[in-house]
């Protein structure tokens, strides 16, 4: 492969997070379209979240799960359309860092909730602790 072709196709060059995909074509119109699509999807997901939270439309115990799923979907929309994190080879480093960050976040939040739930379950009831102190 000649060097010219590498430059032309953006192959083999890394992209900074926030950079537009290099095959997007003619600059500003494509960029504007990307932000508009992102805004539309984000508004749709947000409105759905707020509507579901106070409605009887679906089975009530399922609402928290639905809200969490909608939030994760919206974070994905923000990452793709606003932060321009893609799966292209020029974005590998950014995706790897994101993956590590997400792993730590899940370990931290999931681990805390798991451990604290078990501690609560195994703790002596509060009135018994009070009696032991006298």
């Amino acid at each position: 492969m000649s060097d010219d072709r590498i430059v032309e196709q953006g192959l083999g060059q890394d992209a900074a997070p926030g950079d537009e995909p290099q095959d997007a074509g003619s600059g500003i119109a494509q960029g504007l379209l990307s932000y508009l699509v992102g805004l539309g999807l984000a508004v749709l997901l947000t409105v759905t979240s707020f509507y579901l939270a106070g409605s009887d439309l679906v089975w009530r115990p399922s609402i928290p799960v639905a809200l969490v799923v909608l939030a994760i979907a919206q974070m994905g929309v923000h990452l793709v359309f606003f932060l321009h994190i893609t799966t292209g080879p020029e974005n590998t480093n950014n995706v790897m860092a994101l993956g590590f960050g997400v792993l730590i976040v899940f370990l931290l939040i999931g681990g805390s909730l798991w451990i604290m739930a078990h501690l609560n379950q195994n703790m002596m009831p509060m009135n018994q602790i009070m009696q032991m102190q006298h």
Partner: protein, 224 residues
């Protein structure tokens, strides 16, 4: 990426260092130790991305403490009594719209159009200030009703989490004004453009944190 790896007969399309292409030297930086360091814009953006992820990890600790303490109201008001979903919805709208106008500022920076850059940044600043005003208003109304951060473990965790996000937004607005001043004084120089890239990443990341925040605090809190 328009090239299809197998149909073009290219040996190593994803630069994994496999195949016959490896070892002959690439003319361009690929960020895997071949061909020298990546361009400065890529290195700066990547470094700032790492900072943002570490910031998100810090927020996840606040989220974890909030989730653990959300039920510990010590006889005081719970989230169901306090939270106003309409207020949260308007705050969300402000932040989402500001994220969009921040994207417009990035585009204006790309084509080096000062007028559109100033206009988009000014709208972003206004929406950010509106968000902060609503949040401050909410905090004051809680404290006046005797639900300040000292009332219960739940409220301590709430004020820490939401207040920390508010502090980030305040810092973002200061940075935004700084970038407007720098473009005014120095124009769209390469180093200024890198700073604008980092600012845009910061502002979009704040919006991502707010998505988690309004879901966990306001929607799940009011539903429970």
């Amino acid at each position: 990426m328009t090239a299809v790896p197998f149909s073009t007969g290219e040996a190593d399309p994803y630069r994994r260092g496999q195949g016959p292409g490896h070892g002959q030297g690439h003319g361009h930086a690929v960020g895997r130790g071949d061909g020298g360091p990546a361009p400065k814009r890529v290195v700066v953006g990547y470094g700032f991305w790492i900072f943002l992820l570490s910031d998100i990890v810090m927020f996840s600790a606040f989220f974890a403490s909030y989730a653990v303490l959300a039920g510990q109201t010590a006889g005081g008001p719970s989230g169901h009594d306090l939270f106003d979903q309409r207020n949260a919805a308007v705050e969300t709208a402000c932040l989402l719209a500001s994220s969009f106008t921040c994207g417009m500022a990035s585009l204006a920076c790309e084509v080096k159009n000062r007028l559109w850059f100033y206009a988009a940044m000014a709208v972003t600043c206004g929406l950010g200030l509106a968000f902060l005003g609503l949040e401050a208003n909410e905090f004051v109304s809680f404290i006046v009703r005797g639900a300040g951060p000292t009332r219960s473990a739940f409220l301590s965790a709430f004020f820490t989490l939401v207040g920390c996000h508010g502090l980030h937004v305040s810092a973002g607005i200061l940075w935004l004004l700084t970038m407007m001043a720098q473009v005014f004084a120095k124009g769209f120089r390469a180093d200024i453009e890198r700073r604008i890239l980092c600012f845009a990443l910061f502002w979009h990341a704040l919006d991502i944190i707010w998505v988690a925040l309004f879901t966990v605090v306001y929607l799940l809190g009011a539903a429970a």
